[in-house]
Amino acid sequence: MFRFIVRRLIVTVPMVLIVISLTWALIRLAPGNFYEGEKKLPASIEKNIRAKYGLDQPMYVQYGRVMGNILRLDFGNSLRYENETVNDILKRTVPVSAVIGFCAYTLALVVGITFGTLAALKQNSKLDYASMGLAMLGISMPNFVLGPILVLVFSLSLYWLPPARWGGFPSWNILLPVITLSAVYMAYIARLTRAGMLEVLRSDYIRTARAKGLTERQVVMRHALRGGLLPVVSFTGPALAILITGTVVVERIFALPGLGNYFINANLNRDEPLILGIVAFASILVLIFNLLVDIAYGFIDPRIRY
């Protein structure tokens, strides 16, 4: 187990470096730069800027500097927001994205597992059809449509909830983004849970448990759920990684100061250090979450060993 974790962590480093190198190359290939604006800058001013940021040095020197920064885990200052370091930005924005992401995922887990389990227990009942139909609708409804509709109803017609902005945690502001974000996940989890449960419920050990005379409740809570939730667990790792690294659409609709919002703008602004910092952070996070999921398997399913 330990060796497995160490090996996985070691592979992470060169992979992140390759990702960063390729991303850097892409940024340099993309047209435009961070300083140009509507009015063409006089050549002299452009020259000052290029000198200040070392853009007049040979490419290999610039590349070396980028790599050095990555290895020190210090990405320098953002080009657009000059007095902010990339690390500052990450420190500030990750919690925002993480809070929204965790809340949405928790909501999705609670609702999804409840309805998925009920649907599996009452297979082919009205409840089953209704919850699976809703789940299907959740998957089919793009969140950039769902979000504005929720805002229209709850903020602009009923005036119950604020339509946008970050108000810290906890606050009423996060309710709508959390619901918007969780809809799709809720739908997936419900479907995954139902499928997993159906399979487990027919398996031998559940039959044994029932034969032992355990109540249906005990069978479900103690035995079935444990096995039935494995697909949900495997889904959770990458889902959480994506949620924490920012969910661009929801952050934009609700004007949240999260990582996703920054990332899109960093791309559009060609803010090189910020793009690289976020990409590095996100890829490390995805790899670590996958690892955590693997470790979690070991606890949930005792048959899995490393």
Binding site: I45, I49, K52, Y81, N83, M132, G133, A164, A255
Partner: protein, 671 residues
């Protein structure tokens, strides 16, 4: 689940949407747009546009930053809340010499920074020199190039001195290089009319201007010596420049080069309360220019102590009516009243929350829900205006200090033919465009019609017949000699614009116009902003490219000088005419306001005759404010001096319509 259930579900979803949408629609007929609950006390919540790049006034160029900087920093002059004219700021009064090259400002004695330090002329000297420092690499440093030797300093220039005599070579001695100045770091065009190289002669001329408001000083004499020759200080750059200009090379042979220092710029603190600015050439619009954030005063010791972090809360020392309390990027920026501000008794807003937001829908949602009290300009989508939103009482608009136009690639066929350019301009019914966009005005010239004293030349109007005739003359004709759209190389022309809802709608409209009026279908092409900019500036586009310019100051020159540089593609047209530049310089030398405006108009007429631009509309500042927000006026730039703004809690005094803009007297604004 069966089909019927699916259908029922869908029907339900649809019904819910329709019902809620219906509710929203009914609200529209209300007198005001959305909730009307003023925040407690003197607090304003304002949406200021995208997240400021920097709170350092030297490091930002945009309006979103300008809105914040007006609260944080004060300059020599401030914007009039209605007319945007310069009104006294840190300077109580000022005197301008008759050819508008020397400005003397008298600062008020009670002006203080937010830490209590007095604001003196030396602080302004520090600010200007720091903004121009080449190592700072400010993107807006060009705004201060009007100051004498500012460009030379900012671009690492050097004076040329004869080692034998110790005399500096004046610019007037040099053979004029090819018009436009050529390479980076080239010398500014000497525009002062009478070059004298005799110091004595110059002194006598100074004597003539002896009524000068401030005493003569050594620096003053230096700055009034004839403009010195400037060459690049860097050896490699200089070698390149000299190679390109053999005559210049011969002239500087064997001379020594003295780098231009910050101390050489035409900025002088005559005493603590007197600041003298000397310009390289006449600039009657200069007072309007220095309202810009670049010229606002910053606190030197703070900048030196904290470096790039000096604008962070806790570090920053500000000079404006308010000071920074909190800055959470992408979320909010809070400023509170500055107790040391000289006009503090008249500042009413205790706290301003600035929300950085870009998405119009989100903004209007927040506004409607009563979460913000006012928004910046262009926030009400044009398509809403026909639905009644225009008639709510909190809607604001005014003709704007902005021009929206297409530039044409004049270096590439078929747009290199002036007849073709003119034809495409004439084939757009701009009145119809303006009617569709509701609050905007049709535009036939580059300069918007907001400058009352400016005799705006009228460009070509809508005339599809003449357009076809011109195209036929340009060779796109059938056997009968009439215009034949099939002969036109449609694939060589497209409308380029950067991604934006309003740009797209206008482009679609123009496309339909040309299809209808000329029978030519021009393709549309939208590009993401940073890809778009180099494509336009390097003339890598075909046909037309969208452009817009927000005036830096209230003078036609801010538009006309867009096309005065040859380098870098002239803002995407490829058109450059030294005669046009000469005409503009002549205008700026003209002390008489009326004649100056006439000369500027002549220059614009020259521009319109060759039509490198296709004027579209003059936008309107389309925004909203709650009726309880007073002192926020629909001015042409939607830049507000926050010290005039306050929250009115007495319902009977709320604004019931757009504020009256006719009275410009400050006394009537409660001053």
């Amino acid at each position: 689940m069966t089909e019927t259930k699916t259908a029922r579900l869908l029907a339900f979803a649809l019904a819910a949407t329709l019902i809620s949408a219906g509710c929203a629609r009914r609200d529209m007929s209300n007198e005001f747009f959305g909730q009307l609950e003023p925040p407690p006390g003197q607090t304003l919540r304002y949406i200021s546009g995208s997240e400021p790049e920097s709170l350092d006034p030297h490091m930002s160029s945009g309006q979103p930053e300008a809105r914040l900087d007006i609260a944080l920093y004060e300059g020599l002059v401030e914007y009039h809340p209605k007319t945007m004219e310069p009104i006294p700021g840190v300077a109580e009064r000022w005197e301008i010499d008759e050819d508008a090259t020397e400005y003397v400002f008298f600062l008020r004695g009670n002006a203080k920074f937010s830490n209590g330090d007095p604001i003196t002329a030396h602080d302004f000297v520090y600010s200007f020199r720091r903004g121009l420092k080449p190592e700072l690499a400010s993107r807006v440093a060009y705004m201060a190039y009007e100051l004498k030797y500012a460009e030379a300093y900012n671009t690492h220039g050097a004076f040329v001195r004869d080692p034998k005599t110790g005399r500096f070579l004046p610019a007037s001695e040099t053979p004029k290089p090819a018009e436009g100045g050529g390479e980076a770091g080239a010398q500014p065009q000497p525009a002062s009319p009478a070059p004298h190289d005799e110091e004595s002669l110059h002194r006598s001329e100074l004597g003539k201007k002896g009524e000068d408001a401030a005493p003569d000083t050594e620096f003053h004499r230096f700055i009034h010596t004839p403009e010195r020759l400037v060459v690049p200080a860097d050896e490699k750059d200089r070698a390149k420049a000299l190679k390109a200009d053999p005559k210049l090379a011969a002239l500087v042979e064997g001379k020594e080069f003295v780098p231009v220092r910050a101390e050489d710029i035409g900025v002088e603190a005559v005493d603590d309360r007197t600041l003298r600015l000397t310009l390289r050439q006449p600039a009657p619009y200069f007072l309007g220019l220095i309202q810009h954030q670049f010229f606002r005063v910053i606190h030197g010791p703070t900048v030196e102590r904290f470096g790039v972090n000096w604008t962070k809360p806790g570090n920053i020392v500000s000079s404006g009516s308010h000071m920074l309390a909190e800055h959470k990027p992408y979320n909010q920026l809070v400023v509170v009243k500055n107790p040391h501000y000289w006009d503090a008794p008249n500042v009413r807003l205790e706290t301003i929350y600035f929300y950085p937001l870009e998405d119009n829908t989100t903004m209007m949602n927040l506004y409607k829900a009563g979460e913000v009290d006012a928004v910046y300009n262009h926030t009400v989508p044009a398509s809403w205006l026909k639905s009644g939103v225009r008639h709510v009482k909190d809607y604001m608009d005014a003709p704007e200090n902005v021009s929206e136009f297409y530039v044409m690639n004049t270096r590439k066929a078929p747009m290199n033919d002036v007849r073709v350019r003119k034809a495409f301009n004439m084939a757009v019914d701009k009145q119809a465009l303006a009617d569709w966009r509701v609050v905007v005005k049709p535009s036939y010239s580059l300069v918007p019609g907001i400058f009352l004293k400016y005799p705006r030349p009228k460009g070509d109007g809508f005339d599809p017949e003449r357009a076809k005739q011109l195209l036929a003359e340009a060779g796109y004709k059938g056997a009968d000699g009439k215009f034949d759209p099939k002969k036109f190389p449609t694939s060589e022309v497209e409308i380029n614009y950067n991604t934006n809802e309003s740009n797209r709608q206008i482009a679609e409209f123009i496309q339909a116009q040309w299809k209808q009026n000329l029978g030519i279908t021009v393709a549309l092409r939208n590009t993401e902003w940073k890809t778009y900019l180099p494509m336009r500036s390097k003339l890598e586009y075909k046909g037309f490219a969208r452009a817009g310019w927000v005036g830096d100051y209230m003078d036609p020159y801010t538009y006309l000088n867009l096309y005065t540089t040859k380098e870098g593609g002239d803002n995407g047209t490829g058109w450059y005419d030294p005669k046009y530049v000469a005409k503009l310089n002549e205008a700026n030398r003209e002390p008489n306001e009326e004649r100056r405006m006439a000369l500027l108009a002549e220059a614009e007429k020259m521009l319109l005759e060759v039509q490198p631009v296709l004027p579209l509309v003059i936008p309107a500042t389309s925004w909203m404010k709650k009726p309880y927000v007073k002192g926020l006026y629909p001015n042409p730039q939607t830049l507000h001096a926050w010290k005039f703004v306050y929250i009115e809690h007495d319902r009977s005094k709320w604004d019931q319509r757009m504020p009256d803009m006719s009275t410009a007297d400050l006394a009537e604004l409660g001053r």
